[in-house]
Symmetry: C2
Subunit: 143 residues, 2 copies
Amino acid sequence: MEDKFDPLLLENQLCFPLYAVSKALVRQYEPLLSELNLTYTQYIVMLAMWEKKTLSVNDIGAMVHLDSGTLSPLLQKLEEKGFLDKTRGQDGRKRLISLTEEGANLKEKAKDIPLKIGNCLHLTPDEAKCLYSLCYKTLGWLE
Amino acid sequence: MEDKFDPLLLENQLCFPLYAVSKALVRQYEPLLSELNLTYTQYIVMLAMWEKKTLSVNDIGAMVHLDSGTLSPLLQKLEEKGFLDKTRGQDGRKRLISLTEEGANLKEKAKDIPLKIGNCLHLTPDEAKCLYSLCYKTLGWLE
DNA sequence: CTTAAATAAATTGCATACAATATAACAGTA
DNA sequence: TACTGTTATATTGTATGCAATTTATTTAAG
């Protein structure tokens, strides 16, 4: 007489461990990022900016999967911290976001963060690649 | 002359796709859960309650990885919705959370949700198992 | 019994997330 | 050109997350 499989047990969820590990990992970043005066969300926006130098709000949103409701106040804060500038482009609707010199210099201070985070994951390179691929594969179906 | 590997490119992050897929997946739940008058976080608390029937706030927190700062107002809302009851145990510091009849009945209405979510993931059973295991393995190292 | 230390929840303050709405500016058309 | 529809961003409202603090209660020591 085996128990019937209950799809509503917490341990039978797939989303829940994703949700839990995502939050736990973000918490690992916070002490490292606070030294740069950044939160995790601000950090991924800075990653996008270090990569592209100048972007519209929508461009950033497409890269980091956030909408203007989240980005508007967040970009405001990064501007107040002196890391970003906002200007108007030819198209007056767009706000062009660009790095200040201070914002660009911050990349140097961030360079050790990925390794430090990687070290606390305890995944083999293959496991990390597998996790990475499965996340992107799933993400591809959800948008 | 190959480009040097830049660990600060968005595409070289492991946390970022986890963070993005977690949010995207939670968004998939929202339209299904709104029919039950639940948010995703409220749903995982209800999963814990359906499983254990009675729990303290800390017990729930340990199961779903949330602290009292998040749970206190959330449990308040679930109580107002009529899904949960709060009582005092022998230990007057603890609040014992239990299911109301309405809360218990809600499980029947939720029973198809896991399958619906599973269908939109487009992962093979092996891939799902792999993703599940890697999340729990990582989670184990982060707390 | 009294009081200091520990524990359980709740509260506060700040920073997301995101749906829905509003606003501003551009683009196409009669 | 005046009007309409579209696009880009900002604003509003609700619900988390979580660190830090506070409050209530219990436990342990003296």
